[in-house]
């Protein structure tokens, strides 16, 4: 398992290629990349800033990743999460899972993303022409997280 918080732009395709290289034990690779939008609810986004709690953020993301992957057949998992100042178009988060068959890899990526939205110790602030605002999870994010918890019981 490879869990990283990075403060510079990263290349998701290069990360995925390195993660999957030589893994002929796995028959499925599923990945999700979340990127910074240039517009949200009709308002332009100039910059997204993500704060973290050094040490604790890494530890909590690793705990969520372990909890999710151990309920499925998932031999390896990659999480790269960006912090600091992010420009529209840049990758924010990458989650990739390897498994023998596709079903487990799809589930691990989906459920881990649902957990990260509400439980990863990270804080997003969006800056646009109207100023800056802190982002909180939407009610549907909390609903998905509850569902994820039921599915991983």
């Amino acid at each position: 398992m490879d869990i990283r918080i990075v403060s510079r732009a990263f290349d998701p395709q290069a990360e995925i290629a390195a993660f999957a290289a030589g893994r002929d034990d796995a028959g499925a690779l599923v990945s999700f990349v979340g990127t910074c939008r240039a517009e949200t609810a009709g308002a332009a986004v100039e910059e997204l800033r993500i704060d973290h709690y050094p040490g604790f953020s890494e530890k909590e993301i690793a705990r969520l990743a372990e909890e999710t992957s151990r309920r499925f057949s998932c031999p390896d998992l990659l999480v790269v999460h960006r912090v600091g100042a992010i420009r529209p178009g840049e990758a924010i988060v990458l989650v990739a899972a390897l498994s023998t068959h596709r079903a487990d890899a799809f589930e691990v990526v989906r459920i881990l993303m649902d957990y990260l939205k509400t439980d990863a110790p990270l804080w997003k602030k969006e800056t646009g022409p109207q100023g800056a605002r802190w982002i909180e999870p939407r009610s549907e994010d909390y609903a998905r997280r509850l569902k994820a918890e039921e599915e991983t019981k």
């Binding site: 979340g34 993500i50 704060d51 709690y53 040490g55 604790f56 530890k59 993301i61 999460h81 924010i92 988060v93 993303m113 990260l116 939205k117 509400t118 439980d119 990863a120 110790p121 990270l122 804080w123 997003k124 802190w134 982002i135 909180e136 999870p137």
Partner: protein
């Protein structure tokens, strides 16, 4: 509520538990106290999630009050 305000303080005399510290912070910084009441605040002691306000604190402990998170 904005995260990442950092302060090193000498433990006040009347602060023995996590709950005492939370009340003390709210008295020192009323806006922060009100924000902690208005949203779900998670308490972290020495980088571990704390569930009990009666948890004892000692000099050198690292305590964090975390506002709602938004990763992903």
């Amino acid at each position: 509520m904005a995260p990442a305000a950092l302060a090193e303080i000498a433990l006040p005399k009347d602060v023995r538990t996590l709950g005492d510290l939370k009340d003390w912070v709210a008295r020192q910084q009323p806006l922060l106290g009100a924000a902690m009441e208005a949203t779900r605040t998670r308490l972290i002691v020495n980088q571990c999630v704390a569930h009990d306000l009666s948890q004892a604190l000692a000099d050198g402990d690292e305590v964090a009050f975390l506002p709602p998170m938004s990763g992903g």
